[in-house]
């Protein structure tokens, strides 16, 4: 495994946000699903070294980021897209990415600018390089933040809800970009979009109340709902049910009256795994 997480714990006052999380990450894309407050962002922030865990350990590429002496070496191999990445509004798109490139120790001016142009082109912002950040749309700012995470071809890419604010076309382009990344690197992707996980991820982790509720392949997660997904003409009493486009009702759980078995999806497995938590998330 490239990265191992053992008994990672984080508390805020009386709330345990991460509760002894164990995780193994290999090269490829791993999706992290979970309702709000499940601990996804806290886990990603610990891996991105922007938040110190209270206990537990992370080992990546033979490095321990908790050790100040090894943290810089770890960060050299890291790309991070934060949930709220922020930006200096008076900078241009080029200046913003270049600023992060400098913080990533790219001191050679010519090579640095070449790398900035490369990542801006990767996220389709090459023609916006001279536009001020304050004039960019929300989706463009998200892509700008993604460009920063791609600087220097990092070995570990941590992306916290990267598809927020992207339109369907941009999401398709993002998936293509991410699948290229995942072919060579370890990518950890937190998202609320089960379809992103189905389309991209080799592995999926479902978090619930600070712990790992599931860890496996997307097919395993879908299989969790085997024999528990139904289509019926009349509304069932199940909490986890909804009306589909063809007028029938899809429900999860016990078979409703007149229910026909349906092919389970990742979303079905995820909803069943989380039960009522998913229904209120």
């Amino acid at each position: 495994m490239t990265i191992t997480v053992r008994a990672l714990t984080k508390r805020y006052a009386r709330a345990t946000v991460l509760d002894a999380v164990d995780l193994d990450l290999a090269p490829g894309i791993t999706g992290v699903l979970g309702p709000n407050g499940a601990g996804k962002t806290t886990l990603l922030r610990c891996l991105a070294t922007t938040l110190a865990p209270d206990s537990g350990r992370i080992r990546a590429f033979g490095l321990d980021p908790a050790d100040p002496a090894q943290r810089t070496a770890y960060r050299r191999r890291l790309g991070y897209l934060a949930q709220n990445p922020g930006a200096y509004p008076h900078f241009t798109a080029f200046e913003m990415v270049e600023y992060i490139a400098i913080l990533k120790e790219m001191t050679d001016q010519v090579a640095r600018r070449r790398e900035v142009r490369r990542v801006l082109a990767e996220v389709d912002l090459g023609d916006r390089s001279r536009t001020k950040v304050r004039k960019l749309s929300g989706g463009m700012r998200q892509r700008l933040a993604l460009a920063q995470a791609l600087l220097g071809a990092p070995d570990l890419v941590v992306l916290d809800e990267p598809t927020v604010g992207l339109d369907p076309e941009q999401r398709m382009r993002f998936r293509a970009l991410l699948s290229r990344l995942g072919a060579e690197r370890t990518v950890l992707l937190s998202t609320h979009q089960t379809e992103d996980v189905a389309a991209l991820c080799e592995r999926v982790v479902v978090m619930r109340a600070g712990g790992v509720a599931f860890q496996g392949t997307p097919a395993d997660l879908a299989a969790f709902a085997d024999g528990q997904v139904w289509l019926s003409a009349v509304p069932p009493s199940s909490v986890l049910s909804w009306r589909t486009a063809d007028g029938r009702h899809r429900s999860l759980g016990p078979r409703p009256d007149g229910g026909e078995a349906a092919e389970p999806t990742i979303e079905d497995g995820y909803l069943l795994l989380l039960g009522d938590r998913a229904a209120v998330a």
Binding site: R45, A48, T49, T50, L51, A52, A66, P68, R71, T72, R75, R76, L78, Y80, L81, A82, Q83, N84, P85, G86, A87, Y88, F91, T92, F94, E95, E98, Y99, I100, I102, L103, K104, E105, M106, T107, Q109, V110, R112, R113, R114, V116, R117, S129, R130, A145, Q148, V158
Partner: protein
Amino acid sequence: MTWHPQMTWHLPAGLAAQYARGETAVALTLSIEAHLMKCRPCREAVPYEMGWIEQSWAGIEDLIDRPRRGVAERVLTMVGVPGHVARLLVATPTLSRAWMAAVTVVLAFAVAAARLTEGIGESAQAGAVLPFLVAAPLLPVAGVALAYGRWADPVHESLAATPLAGVPLLLLRAGAALATAVALTGVATALFPASLGLTAAWLLPSLALTAGTLALSTWLPSVAAAALLGGAWVSALLLLNGQSLVFGPLAQILYGLAAPALALLAVFRHRRSEGYR
């Protein structure tokens, strides 16, 4: 660019090669280039060096994208600060126009008050200097507190995951904030009507309080550290009821000793700190 199929002449192969090597005279070069603009067969026949073209194109792209440097950044690079360090320094949140304007206004008021009391009497003038001496050390403290951290920098979460995050960037930005505050206060000092010895008495307390803020910020958020030390500073002045004890020779010696000791403690503590920054 339009190709005119009725072109009546084309570049001879020898001339095309000469042009590609850059060996043609200026007038002839201009004529050839005017022709190449209109004639695709000739453009395709010129034996360009792809390496040269790619290098030139990269140079043009670099020229187009090159960020326009502000005055502060240009001055820093002129005095020998490496370009990438200058870029980091000018993006220090503390050095925003709003903070600089606030510092300038505070100092301008202090100088104006002292100037207005000029000639009224020594005690009145000393009374006008005191607010300046109290406020001046707080300016770099506030600047340092707001130079680094998630409460001050909208990009902190992103930059905290980079190799230069933590001590290197904190010290760089704190240094920039301190230098700016000291330079502006220094200018104000020179404008004071009172003696330089009296009006410059803020310098060592400034350095000691700033280093103390940096050291204390390894235990507390830097804004809280600055508020605590700033509060202690003002309280000490109020309790001791006067400037002779707080700004006297003995106190200055103590500030002079405390400043480097606290700076060393700050660096030591930040380097050992287990908390990520």
